[in-house]
């Protein structure tokens, strides 16, 4: 049911039954290392290209998820997945190997939330019983597609962020299945808000106004205050983007300090790991509502 301007309320509150995550070596050196299910030590992941490495990352992540539930790929109704690469090749090839009916998504940094929102919509509507939402990103393959070759000797801006090497997956089911797991109660898809930031090494500042708009609209649509939530998590605003978001809320008289958490700012130890303004990428958002 649509409520307010752009929020959807799920009457049947789909459940996130189980999640799975796998990360690269740099993420394992970060402060969140204990929370990941699996990790790889080599960015090539035993493959001969970074693209194949990323594909294996996603495959391993989904295999692990199926083992955790436990279930098999035949009993999964649909797969919602995406990544950062051209033609979503990672998710495309992964679904080929899995043989699950597949929706390919591209929302860049928002892909995980997008896939989770759509998976939950399918469950809420009763179109499916088991749906997987998944994403992946790989530092080396993203760097090559969007920026400079890895060996190129250039300097990065202090506001630059670092794409995480990781894949995550969640299985969404109707609320009466299983005993554990958080529920998806509302989704508020955001608008594209462009405040004219054209510096590609400052993505946090480019995305912060849209995050502000989406969260604010969500609060208005649901009639809730920000302190209704224990945590309001954003994907990859990074250190600078998070400060801007908190500032923007302050201007409206809302204090987000202590409530807001940004996955991109949390995943690395910025002083030690030389990641400038933190992480970015599809899989950053392990969001609990």
């Amino acid at each position: 049911m649509k409520i307010g301007k752009q929020t959807i309320k799920f009457e049947n509150t789909p459940k996130i039954l189980q999640t799975s995550s796998i990360v690269g070596p740099k993420e394992m050196q970060g402060p969140l290392a204990n929370y990941f299910d699996q990790h790889i030590d080599d960015v090539f992941n035993g493959q001969d290209s970074f693209e194949k490495a990323e594909r294996k990352l996603m495959n391993d992540c989904i295999d692990h998820l199926l083992a955790k539930v436990p279930t098999n790929n035949e009993s999964i109704d649909y797969l919602f997945g995406g990544d950062l690469l051209n033609q979503c090749i990672t998710a495309g090839y992964s679904s080929r190997d899995l043989g699950i009916p597949f929706f390919g998504l591209y929302g860049a940094c928002s892909t995980f939330c997008e896939s989770l929102a759509l998976a939950a919509s399918f469950i809420n509507a009763g179109y499916a019983q088991k749906v997987i939402a998944t994403t992946s990103s790989h530092f080396c393959s993203a760097e090559r597609q969007f920026r400079m070759p890895l060996e190129h000797g250039n300097q990065k801006s202090p506001t630059a962020q670092c794409t995480v090497t990781a894949s995550g997956a969640a299985i969404v089911v109707p609320k009466d299945v299983g005993t554990q797991g958080p529920f998806v109660t509302h989704i508020t898809p955001g608008k594209v808000i462009d405040m004219g930031i054209s510096d590609m090494t400052n993505m946090g500042a480019a995305m912060a106004p849209a995050a502000f708009n989406t969260i604010m609209t969500h609060l208005q649509d649901t009639g809730r205050n920000a302190n209704y939530y224990d945590v309001i998590a954003t994907g990859d605003l990074g250190v600078l983007g998070s400060e801007i978001l908190v500032d923007l809320f302050n201007k409206e008289g809302i204090d987000l300090m202590g409530i807001h958490a940004d996955c991109g700012a949390l995943i690395y130890d910025h002083d030690k790991q030389d990641t400038h303004c933190g992480g970015s990428g599809c899989r950053l958002h392990g969001k609990c509502i």
Binding site: S49, L150, E151, H152, Q155, P158, A205, I244, K251
Partner: protein, 152 residues
Amino acid sequence: MNANVNMTKEEYSNYVDSKAKKSPIGKNLVWAFVVGGFICIIGQLITDLFTSWNFSKDDASTICTIILIFLGAFLTALNLYSIIGKHAGAGSIVPITGFSNSVVAPAIEFKTEGYVLGLGANMFKIAGPVLVYGITSSVIVGFIYWIIKLFM
């Protein structure tokens, strides 16, 4: 409660600039000067060495260029040039070793896509514009020089 950001694009851009951490320009300049200068000293040493071995000045500078290009490529392959570049910035991008790095780096990167459409097609991805405009402008300058010579 207003869901729109109450700023014009210009105000927002100024606000972001005031908030963003600045590049350490002083430090970057010193590093660029030191590393760039060091690469030039190496070049000068090689040239002087070959001149002292009775090579002509032209031959010595050609040999020096070849050696520096090799060193740039070699350090790129060992993944050391990117570490130098991270600190030195323009100090290691501008000398000929940087040009070598900008050709070898994409070559390594795109080798996985095959030798023709991968390595061959992408090798000059970064250096290509330098070649296009470098060669074009040298042809134009040469043409002007030729015309001036006709009347002198």
